[in-house]
Subunit: 240 residues, 2 copies
């Protein structure tokens, strides 16, 4: 459970032959951070500092080796928990990266991407070697991980257009302003509150509650997601 938080050791290890191709699993985890004072939330991702040689000291995506007896989905969830302690509400395969020269030895990385609700973030912060970075301004990462994060960000923004991606980033109950803030952070632009309200109300994804959240000004109605409408954008692929 408390393995060293690091990407797999790339040096030829015991279980496999030295020249064989090995399969790793990594995950890009998105969540939002509301900086006090900042007028907009920003997209942040957790990275792990490498403690072994290829790219020692650089930051890298959390991940690990695929076990012989576990599926890719399971491996993604497991390595994520081991390196960061996180258990995201949304976890989906992103892309398989397999360029020959992306690592000193031959590694094919099956990369996942994940969304973390604001109330799930807490656990990870205490971890040694884990740190959160603003996705828009990352340092140089190990391997091809900068490229991977760029692709994941592109996918996040893309999917926000036609899917209920915000579900994975919010707690169960929320106001429309909070929901709008999520979309604004992901898309990187302001949205008209009036039009946003109508769009989201007409989508049928939201259920209004009778509760109100009282803040600085007029109280806002609290909504929750309609669990029936499951986003069918993974096609015929069944989960679990």
């Amino acid at each position: 459970m408390t393995r060293t938080a690091t990407l797999p050791d790339i040096r030829p290890a015991a279980p496999t032959a030295g020249d064989a191709t090995r399969v790793a699993v990594s995950t890009v985890i998105f969540t939002l951070r509301r900086d006090r004072g900042a007028d907009r939330a920003s997209v942040v991702i957790p990275l792990v500092r490498r403690t072994r040689d290829p790219h020692e000291g650089l930051w890298a995506l959390p991940g690990g080796w695929l076990d012989v007896a576990e599926s890719l989905d399971t491996a993604a969830a497991r390595t994520l928990a081991e390196t960061t302690g996180l258990a995201p509400s949304f976890l989906e395969q992103l892309y398989a990266f397999g360029a020959v020269e992306r690592s000193p030895s031959r590694v094919v990385s099956i990369v996942y991407w994940a969304l973390l609700r604001s109330d799930e973030v807490i656990a990870a912060d205490a971890r040694e070697n884990v740190q959160w970075f603003d996705a828009a301004s990352l340092p140089r990462l190990a391997f091809d991980h900068n490229e991977i994060v760029d692709y994941a960000l592109w996918r996040l923004r893309n999917k926000a257009g036609y899917s209920r991606i915000a579900h994975g980033l919010l707690a169960d109950e929320f106001t429309l302003a909070q929901l709008r803030e999520v979309y604004e952070a992901v898309l990187g632009r302001r949205l008209d509150p009036a039009n946003f309200r109508r769009q989201v109300e007409n989508s049928g994804n939201l259920i209004p509650t009778e509760r109100f959240r009282t803040g600085s000004h007029r109280p806002a109605r609290v909504y929750r997601y309609n669990q029936d409408v499951e986003l069918a954008d993974r096609g015929p692929l069944v989960r679990h």
Copy 2:
């Protein structure tokens, strides 16, 4: 060049240890077939008959093992050429399948999908063990390949909505009726000729030529694709 056309032998082979996870690459190749007399074209894919034990005799997707010194993209193109003789104009990664029980030994398959232009199909037909099937009515395939084809079909239809997918299925020059036929076959429904024309003309993807194709009735203008407008739907991932 003329290896036996078959999926990789799944039995533990020489190069790798018996219990290691191995990486295979497979491809779902789509093209259109115009049946004489039929009023609509249909989507067909080439399959390879397995000549070795796991699922011997069943039809399977063309593919093979990933070499240690080649990228995933290269492996997809190579195994495709070796098993079917085809070199598609469009080749893109689809998904990585890695359930534990999808094969007797542990195999992670990186699956690609490809589009073949009607003028590229010829070469493959002569192959032993290669046969074309209507994508809508497949027999039981080896491994989890039925599920894989379903997913690829879903992706094809999805992408047809927002992308110039037909480019990969047509020759360089074509009439609007031919282009429309492609979309009708992929989407599985009729499209209004008048509205289709306007949509596609306004998209800016087509360049009208001065040539006309004279058929049974009024000659139709010949178009070709605007090469400048490259479909930017793979995001920041650069090819080659």
